[in-house]
């Protein structure tokens, strides 16, 4: 179980008085499937980075199975089984797809990494020896990023907008993968997404806006609620 307790985050050195995350309280149960959604700039990626240890909270605590992991480094959290697929993955000169996958598998069983390439719709033969550099297209890079998190032995996996930049066919494949994960129930999955098909898999949907958690509930009726809740939308409709 992962618990975030009154987490706030104000980037260091930022003069901006407004924190990016404010008083976040969140309880994520083992092997559940969560979807985080909300407007651009609302703080979704920042929340994911807080979980991974990339951002250190200004205040608040993070507990994993009741143990305080607030001060653990990225590496230590990774070794505890927390994983994060970046919204915008970095590129590396000279590091091959095969190498990246073997690193994400902890250097064991290199061959198995390619199954995951196949799952995200990339032919291992064509991609294993490619470098993860500027020559990859945006969608290819993104799919490799997803494959690398799928290939890890995680207990908590966070995917940051896995659908972004991905073509229709690959997106269908991807939702199939997430469906299987959701049915297997052997990993806590957190997907930041704007896609209805992904919402449908969620045990709970978490709405993040303006740095706060605005709601966390089962998916039924979630969409209508969100739409009606949005004041600006109502205003617009009234004006029409």
């Amino acid at each position: 179980m992962l618990e975030l307790k009154s987490i706030s985050y104000l980037p260091e050195g930022e003069k901006k008085a407004e924190p990016i995350l404010r008083d976040i309280n969140l309880l994520l149960e083992d092997n559940h499937f969560y979807v985080i959604t909300g407007p651009n700039g609302g703080g979704k990626s920042s929340l994911a980075k807080i979980i991974m240890g990339i951002y250190r909270p200004t205040s608040g605590k993070i507990l994993l199975d009741g143990n305080d992991i607030t001060d653990l480094s990225i590496t230590e959290r990774a070794r505890l089984g927390i994983g994060y697929a970046f919204q915008q993955p970095p590129r590396f000169k000279g590091i091959t797809v095969e190498k990246l996958l073997s690193l994400s598998r902890g250097n064991k069983c290199v061959g198995a990494g390619c199954n995951y390439l196949f799952e995200v719709g990339l032919c291992p033969k064509d991609y294993e020896q490619r470098e993860v550099n500027a020559s990859l297209s945006g969608g290819e890079l993104k799919r490799i990023e997803i494959a690398s998190l799928l290939s890890r032995d995680c207990r908590i996996a966070v995917f940051d907008e896995p659908e972004a930049g991905i073509d229709l066919w690959s997106f269908n494949r991807l939702t199939d993968i997430f469906e299987k994960i959701q049915q297997r129930k052997d990993v806590t999955t957190i997907i930041i997404s704007h896609q209805e098909r992904i919402f449908k898999l969620a045990d709970e949907i978490i709405l993040v806006a303006e740095g706060r958690i605005q709601g966390k509930e089962a998916q039924e009726g979630f969409l209508e609620k969100v739409i009606n809740k949005c004041d600006c939308r109502k205003e617009c409709q009234e004006r029409v």
């Binding site: 990339i54 590496t75 990774a78 070794r79 994983g83 000169k93 590091i95 690193l103 890890r152």
Partner: protein
């Protein structure tokens, strides 16, 4: 040869035993073993130290190994090697210099290599430089490489210097003829107080001549590196210079590429970038469970591969 010699040979030429094909092994300023084949003749120069390597036209799939090792201090070795590559020959040339300096005074090797490639000839030239030794004596390597590529000839040069060489001044000059291609890949890692300078001058003289220069370097600690890649196009030709450096600690890197076109159909490009390892890259690898140090090593290893 003793075990130290053998160790150096492994480091610079991946040689675990006597090489196949033609070879010449030079140790402490003297040729110690030499072997010619039916197609590749190696003979000492009459007028100065060094050898002529003559590859018969049409020779294919053979290799020449010419490693140099220095295991004594206070030695200043100067050698001239000339390669005559016959028309349409295709050979692998493995050179390299390993210095084990046991003492306080400097050990230096200046290798002057000249390559004359005939029509349609192809070479792959691999050169590794390596230095070690318990003494405080400096290890200095100043290679000079000259190439002339005749019509449709092609050459791939791979020059690598990773750690251990205190001072290096490298000079490479080439003229590239009609439909000929030259690819130079240079990789360098310096650390400590090391100095490295590399100057390249390539002249594209024949129609559709092409050159690609790729320089990848890592400068650590207080080392200093300078690169001067220069390409001049005299006719319809293509040239691409790419200098990419990772800078760390208190190091200094200067990259001064120069491209000159004397013809409206000369297409010349240069790119030069110097920067530290991107924080995003380190973070990404750390999210896979690597420590910061391991992440850094993985990135450098890939970059220099």
């Amino acid at each position: 040869m003793n075990s130290l010699d053998k160790d150096l040979l492994i480091k610079i030429a991946d040689l675990h035993e006597v090489p196949q094909g033609a070879y010449n092994i030079r140790k402490n300023g003297e040729g110690v073993e030499r072997h010619s084949t039916a197609n590749i003749e190696i003979k000492p120069k009459a007028d100065k130290p060094g050898i002529d390597i003559i590859v018969k036209p049409g020779t294919r799939g053979e290799s020449v190994h010419i490693p140099v090792i220095i295991t004594a201090e206070g030695l200043e070795d100067l050698v001239y090697n000339t390669f005559y590559i016959g028309d349409h020959a295709d050979v692998l040339i493995v050179a390299g210099c390993g210095i084990h300096n046991p003492g306080k005074t400097k050990a230096q090797h200046n290798g002057v290599h000249k390559f004359l490639l005939g029509k349609g000839a192809h070479i792959r030239y691999v050169e590794k430089h390596y230095g070690e030794g318990e003494g405080t004596g400096e290890r200095i390597l100043n290679p000079q490489t000259f190439l002339e590529l005749d019509e449709e000839a092609s050459a791939e040069l791979e020059m690598v210097q990773i750690r251990g060489v205190d001072s290096t001044k490298r000079e490479t000059k080439a003229t590239v003829g009609r439909e000929a291609h030259l690819l130079i890949t240079e990789k360098m890692l310096t650390h400590g107080q090391q100095l490295a300078e590399s100057e390249m001058t390539v002249e594209l003289t024949g129609e559709n001549a092409a050159v690609q220069i790729i320089s990848r370097s890592v400068a650590q600690e207080k080392s200093k590196q300078t690169f001067y890649p220069r390409v001049t196009g005299f006719t319809k030709c293509r040239g691409h210079v790419q200098c990419d450096a990772i800078i760390m600690d208190q190091a200094t890197v200067r990259a001064i590429p120069e491209i000159t076109a004397h013809h409206a159909d000369a297409q010349l490009i240069h790119e030069a970038a110097i920067g530290r390892i991107a924080g995003e890259q380190l973070i990404k690898l750390m999210t896979l469970g690597l420590s910061e140090k391991e992440a850094e090593e993985t990135i450098l290893q890939g970059f220099m591969k």
